[in-house]
């Protein structure tokens, strides 16, 4: 049983890394970012390619993926999203377009072996990553054997969640972000550079998704469309947890991850996913503002 809860916790961790970025950008800026899942995909590809091209170890892929996806996020914000603030549906369509562009670009560049040129590790778009020896084994606690890699995912997530909390609640930058969430006009009138803070926030959220991609690449196949389902998962967490509530996002990712793991144990992954969807639909019907929205926006 402990093993199952532990697997659930590792699933929750990935969900949380994806959802944190969405919670901030959707909650703070009112932007539905459909390209967020593709930041996960790009993070995963950074892991693959940094090994093939640069010979870098798995660990180095974490900061590298964060930087690459944060920069891409910054570009997307600067070029497209900045022009669409306050137009929720337009951001949805525009970022969906960006998502398709990113997927096709990766597929074109890395997906197939091009012109007969073959680089080791490149197949028809499917990639996998070898996690370091050190993380492959299991760690025993009494009778329970815990998978080392899943433990690593959980620890990385805890660290990054702490960093996010610290940024938001213990720094001047965080005060600016939260002020914009509450009242963007008054924030601007108080001297806060709303555009600049928004683009940095967006970049940070994208970077977290990139790290989620690194984590996923260790136990899932890496392919160009992998982000499409992940962005849905991320939004389910955010909506079920309560928009604009960071604590809600943390708790709800924990809940959905555990439900997934428990149902998957009793039946299989497909059923588990269906049950998670059912739970989220139920939450939306019964508590439209989300399970853990303590305060009104």
């Amino acid at each position: 049983m402990v093993e199952v809860l532990f697997i659930g916790l590792s699933l929750s961790s990935i969900l949380l890394l994806i959802a944190l970025g969405l919670a901030i950008t959707y909650g703070a800026m009112g932007v539905i970012n459909m390209a967020h899942g593709d930041m996960v995909m790009i993070g995963a590809y950074v892991t693959v390619m940094s090994k093939i091209w640069l010979g870098l170890d798995f660990y180095f892929a974490i900061p590298l993926a964060f930087i690459v996806t944060a920069l891409i996020g910054l570009l997307i914000e600067r070029i497209v999203i900045r022009r669409l603030y306050g137009r929720l549906l337009d951001t949805l369509l525009a970022t969906w377009g960006i998502s398709i562009l990113l997927q096709q670009a990766v597929r074109l560049e890395l997906g197939l072996s091009f012109f007969g040129l073959h680089i080791e590790g490149l197949g028809p778009g499917l990639q996998k990553v070898d996690v370091p020896e050190f993380l492959r084994g299991t760690i025993s606690f009494g009778d329970t054997e815990l998978n080392g890699y899943r433990m690593f995912i959980i620890l990385v997530t805890i660290a990054l969640t702490f960093v996010t909390w610290f940024l938001l609640y213990r720094t001047a930058f965080g005060v600016q972000v939260r002020a914009i969430i509450r009242n963007p006009e008054m924030a601007a009138a108080s001297g806060i550079d709303v555009k600049r803070v928004n683009s940095l926030t967006f970049a940070f959220g994208s970077g977290l998704a990139g790290v989620a991609g690194v984590m996923m690449s260790g136990f899932k196949t890496v392919f160009p469309d992998m982000g499409a389902t992940l962005v849905v998962d991320g939004f389910m967490v955010v909506v079920a947890g309560g928009v604009g509530s960071i604590y809600g996002t943390i708790l709800s990712s924990g809940l959905l991850g555990e439900i997934n793991a428990l149902v998957a144990l009793a039946s299989n992954d497909i059923i588990a996913r269906a049950v998670v969807f059912a739970v989220v639909i139920l939450v939306i019907i019964l508590k439209p503002k989300g399970l853990f929205s303590f305060k009104e926006r």
């Binding site: 005060v175 939260r178 002020a179 008054m186 009138a189 108080s190 001297g191 806060i192 305060k295």
Partner: protein, 231 residues
């Protein structure tokens, strides 16, 4: 200190302000009076850069600011205390005050000594959530937030609206002191004619998005009040 020239402001297609030309002299209190819905709030918001679209000029300390972003205007020394106060309910009193300090040019982030002197209640309750304060206390908090920016000009939008009478007096005193003792320039939107006469150096009457009468506060006669303010 501040001069608007033929300032027009629009919300979508409606033309709210129609050619406002007004000078606010350094060290003075200038009051704008007029019935509800005549564009007084829009005027302050236009100076701050918070409206959809404006045309005409806004000179602040001889610099044209009408193309600047709101935060740049705030950082150049204009602080805004909006109608309805708009403090952040789940921020502590301290966080609310320090929010204003983002507009400080020297980058200092502290609760000014002046705030402690004017509003002892706030400084004794720095960790309380802003939303738990009474309306009058929230108004004091909004003024404290503006003062944290160390501004040269403060825009006050009906600071006494919807506040218990005991606090109205406190706030009137504060506005008086900010101007007379500390030399802060004030642009005030106010309905209470008695207070306008007491505190202002100049006044302007707004009607349907235009300034119809301007003058020194001694010239604010009962006749003008009756004609433009009586409901």
């Amino acid at each position: 200190m501040l001069a608007t020239g033929d300032l027009n402001s629009y919300y979508g297609r409606s033309h709210i302000l129609q050619g406002i030309t007004l000078r606010v002299e350094k060290g003075e209190v200038t009051s704008i009076i007029g019935r509800n819905g005549t564009g007084k709030t829009t005027f302050l918001r236009s100076i701050m850069g918070l409206t959809d679209r404006t045309s005409g000029s806004i000179l602040f300390e001889e610099r044209e600011i009408s193309a600047s972003e709101p935060h740049e205007r705030a950082r150049s020394g204009i602080a805004y205390v909006p109608q309805g106060r708009e403090i952040i309910p789940d921020f502590s009193v301290r966080e609310n005050i320090l929010m204003g300090a983002f507009a400080r040019r020297d980058g200092k982030r502290e609760v000014p000594a002046l705030v402690a002197e004017l509003f002892p209640y706030l400084v004794e309750n720095l960790e309380r959530a802003g939303g738990l304060l009474s309306g009058g206390q929230q108004q004091q908090l909004a003024i404290a937030r503006a003062l944290a920016a160390d501004p040269k000009l403060i825009l006050l939008d009906e600071p006494n609206e919807g506040i218990q009478p005991s606090i109205v007096e406190v706030i009137e005193q504060v506005i008086f002191r900010l101007n007379r003792e500390l030399g802060l320039t004030v642009l005030l939107v106010e309905q209470n004619v008695r207070f306008v006469r007491e505190v202002s150096h100049r006044f302007a009457v707004m009607e349907k998005g235009k300034l119809v009468v301007q003058g020194e506060s001694g010239e604010l006669s009962d006749e003008i009040v009756h004609k433009h303010l009586a409901v």
